[in-house]
Symmetry: C2
Subunit: 441 residues, 2 copies
C-alpha cells in the first residue's frame, strides 16, 4: 500500500471477498464460457453456442422493419410528432408493443392474453430477473428448477441470493414424484417452495419435451402445492410436435409465461417478454392489480424501458408476417431439424454398431429445438473438452454446467442450431473419433 496525497492508502486490487459471492461461483462463468469457447478454437466445429442460424437475416431489411412499425402507429392515428416521441423518448416501462406481442401469442400459440398482463423486456433474461425479484421475499422462499437447468435461471437466482433446489428430471420433463418429495423436504425445513421453472418444449440443455398429459399433471401438482410455474418457451416454435403451452392449459393463473424473440426474430434486438396475469392485492385503484404492474416497477429500476428501436424492429417483423412468427420460422425449424437429423444419423453410423465399450454412448431424440443430450462413459469435463477441441476439432458443452450438484459429469450438450447440415455431419464424425479414442484409448 502507498500513501496518497489525501492521507489515505491507495486502492490496491479488490479481494474477491469484496465482491458479491455470486461472482465467485462457477455458474456465472458459464454464459461467458459458452459465448467465448468457440472463439478460442476458430477451426473447430462447435456444438456449443445456443445461437440461432443467421443465414436468412439481411441487415438491409432492418430499416424496413422499423418503418413498418412506425407506419402501423401512423395507421392508428399517431401524428408525426407522436411517432417521433415513440421512437425517441423514454417509453412506457411495460413496453410499447404489448398489443403486438399479445396478438402474436394468439396467432402462434392460441393463447388469449390481455396486453395489460404483458411486460416487454430486454430479452427473456430480464424477464427472468424481474419475475424472481418480484416473487422472492427472503431466504425462506425457494426456487425449484427442472434439472439439469438453463443457467439463465440459476444465475439470476444467484445474483439475487435466492435459494434454488433442483427437481429431478425424467426423459419427459420434471419428475412429479420428485417434485412432491422435494416440496415436502423444503416444507419440513421450514421454508417454502414458491415457483418451479420449467422449459416444457425442447428444453435447454437437454432437448427434452413434456407430453401433453404430463403438462396437465404438472398444473394439477402446482395447484396442490400452491406453486407458481415459470414457463420458459423459446424453442416451442421449432418443435416438430405441437403441444399446448402450460399457460394455455392454465385455468387458475398459476403460470407465468416467459417469451423470447431472440430465436424467432433476432438475438441482437434483445427483446423478450413476460405474461404475468396473476392478481395482486393493493393495485393502483385499491382493488387487485396485476403482477405485470409489479414487474414493471422492478423494471423501472433495472432498465427503465426496453429499447424503442428494438421494440420497433421486432414489431415490424411481426407485422410484416401477419402478426405471428411461427409461419415465418418454418424454414428455420426445418433447418434445425435437418441439422439434428444429420448429427444423429452420423452418430448412429459411427457409434451405433461399436463394440460393448460403446454401449454406454447414447443420445436422445428431441422433437426439435436446438439441443440434444449425449451420454458418454468418461468424465465430460473441461479437460476433455480442450482435448476434443485441440486434437479433434470439435467443441461441445459439458452438461455438468447445468447441474446444481455434480451430476451430469458424463453427459454432453450438443447444440445444432448454428451449424449447416454438412458441419453437423462432419462435427459428428470428429466427435465420434474423440469418443472412440477416449473409450478405447
Amino acid at each position: 500500500m502507498t500513501t496518497t496525497p489525501g492521507g489515505g492508502s491507495s486502492l490496491g486490487a479488490l479481494p474477491r471477498t469484496a465482491l458479491h459471492p455470486s461472482l465467485s461461483a462457477p455458474l456465472l462463468d458459464t454464459m461467458t464460457f459458452l459465448n467465448e469457447v468457440t472463439l478460442r478454437y476458430p477451426q473447430a466445429i462447435s456444438f456449443a453456442p445456443g445461437r440461432p442460424y443467421e443465414g436468412d437475416f439481411d441487415v438491409a431489411h432492418v430499416p424496413g422493419f422499423i418503418e413498418t412499425y412506425l407506419d402501423h402507429l401512423r395507421e392508428r392515428g399517431y401524428s408525426e410528432e407522436r411517432v417521433r416521441t415513440a421512437l425517441y423518448q423514454y417509453g412506457e416501462t411495460a413496453g410499447q408493443i404489448r398489443d403486438v406481442v399479445a396478438r402474436m401469442l394468439d396467432i402462434d400459440e392460441d393463447m388469449t392474453v390481455d396486453p395489460a398482463s404483458v411486460v416487454v423486456t430486454v430479452g427473456c433474461q430480464e424477464a427472468v430477473l424481474l419475475t424472481l425479484r418480484a416473487l422472492f421475499t427472503g431466504p425462506d422462499d425457494v426456487l425449484l428448477v427442472d434439472s439439469p437447468s438453463y443457467v439463465g435461471i440459476t444465475g439470476a437466482a444467484a445474483l439475487l441470493g435466492i435459494p434454488v433446489v433442483a427437481v429431478p428430471g425424467t426423459p419427459n420433463g420434471p419428475s412429479l414424484e420428485g417434485l412432491d418429495r422435494t416440496v415436502r423436504e423444503i416444507e419440513a425445513s421450514g421454508r417454502r417452495a414458491k415457483c418451479l421453472y420449467v422449459v416444457p418444449d425442447c428444453s435447454n440443455p437437454t432437448g427434452v419435451s413434456m407430453h401433453r398429459d404430463d403438462r396437465t399433471a404438472l398444473l394439477a401438482a402446482a395447484g396442490r402445492h400452491g406453486l407458481l410455474l415459470l414457463e420458459d418457451n423459446p424453442y416451442g416454435v421449432f418443435s416438430s410436435v405441437r403441444r399446448p403451452t402450460l399457460k394455455s392449459l392454465d385455468t387458475d393463473r398459476r403460470v407465468i409465461y416467459l417469451g423470447s424473440f431472440a430465436k424467432t426474430a433476432f438475438p441482437g434486438a434483445r427483446v423478450g417478454f413476460v405474461v404475468a396475469d396473476q392478481l395482486v392485492e393493493g393495485g393502483e385503484g385499491g382493488g387487485p392489480g396485476l403482477l405485470a404492474d409489479e414487474l414493471a416497477k422492478v423494471k423501472s429500476m433495472v432498465t427503465v424501458n426496453t429499447s424503442s428501436l428494438s421494440q420497433a424492429a421486432v414489431a415490424g417483423m411481426l407485422l410484416q408476417n401477419g402478426g405471428g412468427l411461427r409461419a415465418a420460422n418454418e424454414g428455420a425449424a426445418r433447418h434445425y431439424q435437418a441439422t439434428m437429423r444429420h448429427l444423429r444419423e452420423a452418430l448412429a453410423r459411427e457409434l451405433g454398431a461399436g463394440g460393448p465399450e460403446l454401449a454406454d454412448v447414447r443420445w436422445n431424440d428431441p422433437d426439435g429445438g436446438f439441443f440434444l443430450t449425449l451420454d458418454v462413459p468418461f468424465p465430460a469435463d473441461e479437460a476433455a473438452l480442450h482435448v476434443s477441441a485441440e486434437k479433434y476439432g470439435v467443441i461441445w458443452t459439458p452438461m455438468r454446467h447445468f447441474h446444481l450438484d455434480t451430476a451430469g459429469d458424463r453427459q454432453i450438450r450438443l447444440s445444432c442450431s448454428y451449424l449447416t447440415t454438412g458441419q453437423a455431419t462432419e462435427g459428428a464424425l470428429r466427435l465420434a473419433r474423440f469418443i472412440k479414442d477416449q473409450v478405447q484409448g
Copy 2:
C-alpha cells in the same frame, strides 16, 4: 377459495407480503409517477419529467445512424458476414462499441479510458444495478448517497436489499463534514461505508454542481475513508461551466464512472455505460482482472448484452459527429439554459417583489442541466400537486420523493428540459399564481 380439479385451492390475489418488500416502498412508484403524471393532466404545463428535448430529432435519420456504424465496421475490415453477425447475433456481453465510447470520453471529457474497462449497458440504470450488485456483499455494506438523491440509485439499492445512508447535501454538493460524520457512525455500528454515489454536475434532483476544489477534496476524503465513488454524469455536457469529472481527477482508481446516452443521443435507444478500471484479484489468467469484467458477468444474468441495434444507432450518431457528442449538443445545452433562464426570470418577476409572506419562496441558480430547486413555505406534497395541476395547470415534482427521510417536504423540483421557453415562462406564471394562493390563501 375454490377447489381445482387437481385437488388444490385456486390461486387468489397474491398478498403484498408475497412480493419483495421493495415493491411496497413508495420509492419504486416514483419513476412511474414521474413518467405518468404528465399524462394525467394533458392540458397542464409539466415541470415534472426529466425528459430531453426532442425537437431536433428526426426518425428518418435513424437508419443512417445504423448504416454509419456498419460502414465503420466495414472500414475496419469486417466482411458482410461479420457485419451481419454484429447486428443480428448475441454480442459481446460488455458491448461492441466500447472503443467508440472510450473515444467519446477522450473527445468530450478529456478522459483517457481503456475500452476494456468499459461495459455498455441498457441505459445508465443498468450500469447502476450491475455496479451495486457486484460491489455489495451483504447487509454490512452500506451505500452512501448525496442527499437528496436520484431515485434510480436508491431504487436499485432497494431491489438488492442494500442499506442506504444519506450524506447531507450543501448548495455545492455533498458536505465533507457530513461525510466524515456519516462514515464514523456507520463504522461505529459495525458496518462499513463502501461507496458514495454522487452527481457532480447539474445534479438530479437539485441542479447543484460541485466546484473543482470540492471535487479534489472529495477524492481525498474517499481515499481517507477507503470509499469508492460512483460518479454519475448525465448532465455535464449541458453545464455552462466546464469542470473536470471526478474520474479525470482520479489518480487512484477510486471512481467508477457512470455515463448515459439518454440525454446526448436519445433515451429510446437505452444505451449507457460504466467505466470500471478498478483491479480485482483472481482475474481470467490468475493475475488481477478488471472490475469491468465482473460487471459483465453480472450483466450476463441481467440482460445478456445491450441491443446491437441501439448500440449501432448511438455509435453511428457519434461517428457522424466526429466521435463526440458535446459539440452536437451545444444547441440543446443552449436550449435548456434558455428555458431555465426564462423560468427563473418569470419567477423573479412574479415572486421576487412579493410581500414578506413570499420571503421564503426561493430558488437556486444551476449552471445548466435539467433541474432547479424551489423552496416554498408550505407542504409540497401530492395533494398540493394535484391542486396545482387541476386548478392552475402546472405540474412539478415534490422533492421529498428524493429524500430517504421526510426532509424536502417544502421543496419542489422543476425540470426545464422538455419545455419551450414560452412554456417555461407560462408555466412559471401559473406556478407563481399557485404559490401565491397557497401562501396568501
